[in-house]
Amino acid sequence: MTVSFLILAVITVGGTAAAMGLRNAVHCVLALTVGFAGVAALYLQLGAQFVGFTQIMVYVGAVAILAVFAIMMTHNPGLVERTVVSKHWLAGSVVAAAVFAVLASAIGRSAATLQQHSPQPVVTVQQIGDSLMHQYVLPLEIMGLLLTAALIGAVVIAMDRKEETK
């Protein structure tokens, strides 16, 4: 329970809460980037440098931009949104709260089993690369396949059908 952890936790939770709470979608995304950055910082604090930077690169650099683009493209000023929350927002928030309660209580109950303190492990990119290339080479390949498929699929889905009819 270090101070830095608390700060980061506050930033992260604040960012994500804002992301889920704000009215303006673009603000949500911007706040979300703060949350992502906080998570990345937590990774760094946990000594997972590579994952942290990957997190920033992927989420802040790619996903957030993507979301922003999507919002821009799907934003039609015609309809005025009375409310941003859906009809069943109450049930939804209740369920979410219940989930948190359950999980938190579970974590609290298991406090006894989670007591060991291991020293900060040093993991170099070299090691990550080695294990990616040897132990986890098959998942890596599958991942590449998945990304390619996702790339093509996204393009195909998002392509404007009108061009074909033209």
């Binding site: 603000h27 911007l30 590579f50 930077f53 920033i56 650099g61 931009i65 821009m72 990119v125």
Partner: protein, 391 residues
């Protein structure tokens, strides 16, 4: 003696740290290593602006700034004063917070990128294990700030400009990263310091820079092209175009915020150039073994200035592209070539050193390059800009 000069900043830092109580030492060392960067590069920015304007003036056969100070060299100071004293106009309907955050964020991101650049021997702010990754992660933040700027100021022009800029940055970020991958493959490390050290050796008097390999040359060229596009410089300066979307995403900015954008762009340009130097031009290592007596940081800045000169030259001479040409160029030429370049790096790695390796790799890269460019030119996809109504 030369050692002394080489390490002068490091020595000075340790000397200063001696006066700091042990509790505050980490913080103090951080400050001591960050502040010089914060000073040096804005200075370089100031010099660069005036150099660029004068250079462009020469290229366009006119005098550059030549009034303020000796040969107009105080021009940047005057500009700074002007932009500081100007009124800071914020559009009424603008989203004030974001509108304010955008320029700050861009500058901060640009500065953070310097954290991993080894400016000289033992002169890197933090030697990260995944330095290169860090660099690009930070670089991706710039896009976000650009978007913020464009979106927050509630203006069609700025929004369109931001979209353009982001599209361009994303499409050129891919080849930028791919071009560095070859170096990482060869150096076997993501740490900038290690990469520079790998290149610091000499055979005879010739250095082991990655530039002097087929994939190195190709990678360098690709990297520089992508960097030019990343930093929105001519001939890729599409996001701002007087004829189409006036000043692009910072059209609604004025005064100091505008200056901040300006600063941010140049800092980004320096940062990418510095990364190019680190990756391909052997960082702070001397170009010939006989020059090793010159301090390493001098070499770094010398190379940096050379690259900046190149940027200025290109800006002065090349015409702009059209938007579609820009995109096609990125996806149909730069990207395949960089992928191919990775293949060549692999081939190079597994072939025995010698002339054969050179010939094979050069052949592998040269033929597709020629064929691809010829094919694209035939498809009229990749050409210098044609002026439809002028001429």
């Amino acid at each position: 003696m030369t050692q002394m000069f080489d390490q002068i900043f490091v020595i000075a830092k340790h000397w200063l740290l001696g006066y700091v109580p042990a509790v505050a030492q980490p913080l103090a060392s951080a400050i001591l290593s960050v502040v010089p960067v914060l000073i040096a590069f804005p200075l370089l920015f100031a010099i660069t602006t005036v150099l660029e304007r004068k250079g462009l003036g020469r290229i366009q056969n006119r005098y550059g700034p030549n009034r303020t100070g000796p040969a107009g060299f105080f021009q940047p100071i005057a500009d700074g004063i002007k932009s500081l004293t100007k009124e800071d106009i914020v559009p009424l309907s603008a989203d004030h917070i974001v509108h304010f955050l955008a320029p700050v964020l861009i500058v901060v991101a640009a500065f953070m990128a310097y954290a991993v650049l080894p400016i000289g021997r033992n002169m890197v702010i933090l030697n990260l294990n995944a330095g290169v990754l860090f660099f690009f992660a930070i670089g991706s933040v710039v896009e976000l700030s650009v978007f913020m700027a464009g979106w927050s100021s509630r203006s069609k022009y700025s929004l369109l400009g931001a979209m353009r800029a982001i599209a361009q940055m994303i499409s050129y970020e891919v080849p930028l990263v791919l071009a560095t991958v070859v170096v990482i493959m060869q150096a076997g490390s993501l740490s900038t310091v290690t990469i520079v050290e790998r290149q610091a050796g000499y055979t005879g008097i010739w250095p082991h820079w990655y530039l002097f390999t087929p994939w190195g040359i190709v990678g360098f060229v690709l990297f520089m092209i992508a960097a030019t596009a990343e930093s929105n410089r001519s001939p890729f300066d599409l996001p701002e175009g007087e004829s189409e979307i006036i000043a692009g995403y910072y059209i609604e900015y004025s005064g100091f915020k505008f200056a901040l954008f300006f600063l941010g762009e140049y800092l980004g340009m320096f940062a990418t150039s510095g990364m190019a130097i680190t990756l391909f031009l052997g960082g702070w290592s001397a170009p010939l073994s006989v020059f090793t007596f010159v301090p390493s940081w001098i070499w770094f800045f010398a190379k940096l200035l050379v690259l900046i000169g190149g940027f200025i030259w290109i800006r002065g001479t090349l015409p702009r592209l059209r938007m579609d040409q820009l995109m096609n160029f990125a996806w149909e030429f730069i990207l395949p070539m960089s992928l191919l370049n990775m293949l060549i790096a692999g081939v190079w790695h597994f072939m025995a050193p010698g002339v054969v390796r050179w010939l094979v790799c050069s052949a592998i890269i040269a033929t597709p390059c020629i064929l691809l460019s010829a094919g694209l030119r035939k498809k009229k996809r990749l050409m210098v800009r044609t002026y439809e109504f002028a001429e």
